[in-house]
Symmetry: C2
Subunit: 325 residues, 2 copies
């Protein structure tokens, strides 16, 4: 039985959608444990009572420090203490990062934990990391991200031999900035399934199973992807609504547009996975639906069952050198 700590107060639609998602995820193999206020209707799921709540717009570091009994912090602590196997929250992303760093320490050998986000590309799931944990990174960090992403792709996404690419500004090895040039050399010399550079234009079409970059670039890329999809579809809707002919056509293509939105929906993969700590934590979208919460819990549980954390620890190529920060 895999125990997943769920922050009942995290997200714009908490606690209703979070509880509903947890109930949906609960089965013979998964026990979601809710963390939230006394009296919360959990539909029968276990509740660990907490007295504080971190709001979406609070300053992360301060919030985590000043609210040690918040649902978010206590849920993270439960994994550190062994009372749960993984933690899921749709709450304040920065606070979730800060709390996970504080309560779940780094794995030995991991210099920098990274955020892995699964992009629902047209060719299938593609893991982008680091998606924002480290705004500045060194080449050896990118090599570790590649190893962590490969383990994640193997164990959680069922891709036996993941292809890894480095996000850069041209496919040729000599294209890039100093960071990617140096990282390219390290990746090419590794035993990873490294296939060279990826260009950002292919990210949504499907650039590779694992796409590696520093956290600044990854965060810019991820938000640009989400924002552009939204802007294009919104702009198209507006153009369609401008004429009666368009409006009729719009009605007819509505199911197709809905299928597309669902295919491109980041909720499919539940959220952002923080890799490199002594426990798995998943940061779901702030506006997560019950489906998103349920998917996040399922994938977190799958990560636990496949021992992603243990496999990461065993895989770190630099685990015998002193951990650098």
């Amino acid at each position: 039985m895999t125990r997943v700590a769920v922050d009942a107060l995290g997200g714009d639609r908490a606690p209703e959608e979070v509880v509903a998602g947890a109930l949906e995820a609960a089965d013979a193999g998964i026990e979601p444990i809710l963390y939230g206020p006394a009296g919360l209707d959990t539909g029968g799921l276990p509740l660990v009572e907490t007295t504080q709540v971190i709001a979406m717009e609070e300053k992360p570091a301060e919030a985590v420090k000043s609210k040690p009994d918040s649902s978010l912090v206590v849920a993270c602590r439960a994994v550190g203490a062994g009372d749960a196997d993984a933690v899921v929250s749709a709450g304040n992303t920065g606070a979730m990062l800060a709390a996970a760093f504080l309560e779940l320490r780094r794995l030995p050998g991991v210099a920098r934990p990274a955020i892995a986000v699964v992009i629902p590309s047209r060719k299938g799931p593609s893991v982008l990391l680091d998606s924002g944990a480290n705004a500045d990174a060194r080449p050896e960090h990118l090599l570790q991200f590649a190893h962590m992403g490969s383990v994640f792709a193997q164990e959680v996404l069922d891709i036996p031999e993941p292809e890894v690419r480095l996000l850069s500004i041209g496919e040729e090895p000599e294209k890039g900035n100093q960071l990617t040039l140096d990282a390219h050399a390290l990746l090419a010399a590794s035993d990873l399934g490294f296939a060279g550079n990826a260009e950002s234009r292919d990210l949504l079409a499907g650039a590779a199973d694992v796409v590696v970059c520093d956290g600044f670039t990854g965060n810019v890329a991820l938000k640009l992807l989400e924002g552009t999809i939204k802007t294009v579809l919104d702009a198209l809707r507006e153009e369609i609504a401008a004429t009666p002919r368009g409006k009729l056509g719009g009605l007819l293509i509505r199911p197709a547009a809905r299928r597309l939105r669902s295919k491109l929906d980041p909720d499919t993969y539940g959220g952002a996975y923080l890799l490199g700590l002594r426990g798995l934590s998943v940061i779901a979208h702030g506006n997560s639906s019950r489906r998103a919460i349920s998917n996040a819990i399922h994938l977190a549980a799958k990560g636990v069952e496949h021992d992603v954390v243990g496999r990461l620890a065993a895989r770190m190529p630099e685990r015998r050198t002193p951990a650098a920060v």
Copy 2:
């Protein structure tokens, strides 16, 4: 009369579409001068004969060095020699960069020339720079990019008081990597219309009149934007074609989809503007249509008429310090 040197052999659709675009742009104020092989039918426009051609896939530096009489290199040289006021090519981007650097020297005080690309955002044109000339940049370079982008926005895009933002991973000043944190401080202390950080999710919706970043980030962002627009529209077309109902709807929305594509078309603004040299050069898309070439020539001419180069030279805040490379 503004003389614009046009590389007749640059681009996938050269020379036909290039010549047609040049003819379209020619008017009382603009004289396009074509650079290409003897015997080329220019429809009456002046031709400067060249004997070599640089292909799209050639290695830029080698090609420019080994082909000094190529249409691309000679067209750039014409601006350096004062035989033309600006140069336009839809050819090999890297070769165009290398030739422009070689033949048009840097303006005094400009540490790093930058590529400015106009994004047709929903709120209006938005200049993104650097879009790829400098994969690595320092904070003071970003400050110069902001000044160059502001001059460009004022003189070419008719935005009297351009709002400038720094592309980063959060709107708060403390969000970013070391480069953007340092650049933020310089921008905030400048006399530019600096309004803080921009997030990439807003790039297509309209983040600011001028969006500043290093060339690696800008190139990743630009290609991601182009690739995502294409992938979303392709995927939607595929979903629509999957059912008879969708197909009918697709026919009805075709004019709306066409209007959208045209609004988002980068050809509207002709291409990438290389700023910071002693002459204006425009790198048009490789697959430029005659409309794109004509737009590029018009905007290059407008840049000349409004003395963008002179205004850039006068504006560089660090022009009294030794130029750094």
